[in-house]
Symmetry: C2
Subunit: 161 residues, 2 copies
Amino acid sequence: MKIRIASDEDWPSIYPFYSAIMAEGRTYAFPEGQSLEEAKPWWMEAPPGRTVVAVVDGVIAGSAKMGPNKPGRGAHIGTGSFLVDPAYQGRGIGRALGEYVVGWHREQGFHGIQFNAVVEVNEPAVHLWTSLGFEVVGTVPEVFDHPEHGLVGQHVMFRRL
Amino acid sequence: MKIRIASDEDWPSIYPFYSAIMAEGRTYAFPEGQSLEEAKPWWMEAPPGRTVVAVVDGVIAGSAKMGPNKPGRGAHIGTGSFLVDPAYQGRGIGRALGEYVVGWHREQGFHGIQFNAVVEVNEPAVHLWTSLGFEVVGTVPEVFDHPEHGLVGQHVMFRRL
């Protein structure tokens, strides 16, 4: 597996699993039913942020975006979002992308990383971020409408760098 | 004091205290040094959100914006942001705007309201939201670069409706 910076030409290869994951509705509160063009600015980050892809045997199997969580007086804290093609789950792609995002923020001189909304019943994600040094700062109750579990909470998670 | 829906024509009357409060840098991690036109989309909400103004003796003395905190599977939770002209502080304008925002979300059928980033040393704000039924869900450390206190935390606050 190789992780490299995403270009505009990669977006049509990301969009199918982006769409599939949003349609599943278990992880992100993003707009529903976005077209290729509508979804693009929701995932493809411009500097000072960055979007990367994870490539397995020449196929784009996952992606992460990262950058300042806020402008101005919050710009020293980063954030990140992650997608792994369901057909490629369980191969460590999420962990590799997570490690990349932590390393990138450290190199860029960020002070910490905040994940704003980790669905509390998304146990693989909570486990992964915890293993990468993130802590649950708090859990906002009932803010995510999960297709199986109904209204569930989202964790705010943070780690210093 | 009267609270009414803001129109585009009100923005030039909001912008001076918006700019003053952003330049003080004690409450919001917004972009710095925004022009009248640059700042407008950061404050003037379109449906399903709303921006209102508080008018005192014919003068716009405060403003609030409100609406869904997230799209899609998070759209049942609202959020709000608040500005009171420093020249009009201490007159209950923030409280009146807060009560308006809570009432509006209730009327619209929202399930709860989340404040994503209340600067922890902004005691008047923390006190006000607590008195309006919000609870601190967690405090993300060192995420706000305060001009006097340095790196301080921000509370995530929530109340059910």
